[in-house]
Structure formats: C-alpha cells, structure tokens
Symmetry: C2
Subunit: 168 residues, 2 copies
C-alpha cells in the first residue's frame, strides 16, 4: 500500500511569468487558479497514460474502445449504434467505424431491427464477453490502486471538490 508514484509524462506548462503577463492584460486571470487547473488536467493525463498504455500494449485496447465495450457489456439485450454513441459521448460516425473494426475482429456482432428498417442492434460476441471478463478485473484493480495514496477522508474530500468544480 502507498508508495505508488506516477512520474512520467511531464508536459511543459505555460510559465508563471507568461501567465503573469497575461494577467496584467486581463486582471480576472487568476494565475494560481490557471496553474491549479493545468495541474488537474496534467494529473488526469498521467493517470490515463498509466492505465491505457498498459491496456494498449497488452491487448491493443484504447480508452475509447474500452468505453464502448463496457457499454456493450452492460447492454445484455444489445443496443442501437446511435444509443451507443450517445452513451459514449462520441459521434455516430465514430461508432460506425469502431463497430466495423470490432465486428472484423470478432468482438461484436450486429442485427437489423425487424420493426424499423433503418435501425440496427449490436452486441458483444461470446469472444467479446470472454475478453471483457478477462481484462476488467485487473483493470479495475489498477484503477482502484491509483487512489491508494489517499485516505478514506481525503477520498471523500475529493468527491466533494469534484462536485463543486462541476458546479453542483
């Protein structure tokens, strides 16, 4: 427990000097608030790289594809591509291309809806479900471990701060 360190992928920030210059032009630019937000996005960037570089190397699985496959995994009766796009927050064009590759690779299958000639229903294949059952436990374990450096209390604090940032 503890001792976990994310120490890769340090992207160059705007310098504090540069930010101060802009703040002179527009006093409402709060330099430390900008730096905090950049730090927040940088932390997210490092976490995403930590998690998804592993999945990419081991299973050729990207963040977007995992999102889509989790939604499919949870849609036991299949789902329309348009619904899938909506739930994954990507365009239908993106889903269309991704499904094409997933069907090519035997991870998903699609059926045409009998009551509506325009519509389709897609679902994971057996191979797709087996794949998810194989990768998800270790994925969620890695995910949980990333929060191990925080105490219970700090985790509650963070939940509250995230809610406030979103404005509710």
């Amino acid at each position: 427990m503890g001792g976990f360190v994310l120490n890769l992928n340090k992207r160059e920030f705007p310098t504090r000097e540069a930010l101060r210059q802009f703040a002179k032009q527009i006093p409402a630019i709060n330099v430390s608030a900008v730096e905090l937000l950049l730090q927040f996005l940088q932390t997210s960037f490092e976490i995403q790289h930590y998690i998804f570089d592993i999945l990419e190397k081991k299973y050729k699985l990207s963040e977007g594809k995992l999102m889509v496959m989790i939604i499919l995994y949870q849609s036991s009766n299949g789902i329309a591509p348009s619904k899938l796009a909506e739930k994954a927050c990507v365009t239908r064009a993106t889903i269309s291309a991704m499904l094409h590759r997933m069907i090519r690779d035997g991870l998903a299958c699609s059926f045409s809806n009998s009551t509506d000639g325009r519509a389709k229903v897609v679902a994971l294949t057996e191979k797709g479900r087996v794949f998810m059952d194989e990768i998800l436990p270790e994925h969620f374990l890695r995910t949980a471990r990333l929060m191990n450096n925080l105490t219970e209390e700090e985790q509650i604090q963070l939940v509250q701060l995230l809610k406030k940032i979103k404005g509710n």
Copy 2:
C-alpha cells in the same frame, strides 16, 4: 462568480453492481475508489471538452496543437523537433506531421541547423505569435474561471490531493 455549471458529456460508467461483482472475484478492488477515479477522469473529460470545443470551433485549434504552440511560443530562439516532442509528451512522428501542417498554414517555420546536418530548428512565425497573443488571454481567462466554484482554501486542498495522488 459562482453559478458555473458543466453539465454536458455524461458518459456511461460501469454500474456499481458490476463493480461489486468484480470485487467479489478480487477483494482488493475497492468499489468506491474505482468510482472516485472514474469521477475524476469524467470531470477532466468535461473540462477538456468545455475548453477545447470552444477553441476548435472558433480557431480550429486542438489540445495537442495548443500544447505545441505554447512550447514554441515560449522557445524564443526556436527548438528542435525532437525536444518539442519530448516537452509535449508525444512522439517525433506526431510532431513531424503537426509541424508540416503548421508550416503549411503559415504558423511556424523551420531552419536547418548548420552544425548538425540531421537537426532542424523550428519556431513560430510572426503570424503564429500574433495568433497566440490573440487567443491566449481569453483561453487563460476561461481556464481560471473553471476554478471559480472553489474557495481559496478548497483550491489549496485540491493542490494537496493532486500531489498525494501522484505519490509525492
């Protein structure tokens, strides 16, 4: 002040039920820790969309391109593409293609290094600098405003929590 709400782009999460099932298999999977991390990444996702959808629509400027242009902006004597790649945390191949488009669009220029025949030096053009001077103030203002929902004290708390997540 206050009242700012990020309310778009709600991606579907793994259900708590599903997470509990995996936690039965691997007890070290702490369900609330996983949910916290997903919430953290989701908040980051919403912030990035809020900021970069605006820049994309107004100026055809993506997150990656902004990162690179900020580094160029801060490299007043120019910089080698390989250094640029390192500082932006992307591959040299990515930088190579991006520079090609930026030069095509008149935002950057490149010179060959006289002392090393392999090397290049790239820099923003006058047009590129003017562009950055135009967009950065409002960009940093938007950035700062995203933290407006937090008090000074909460901002300090968040800095501490981010440091702890990273493990130092």
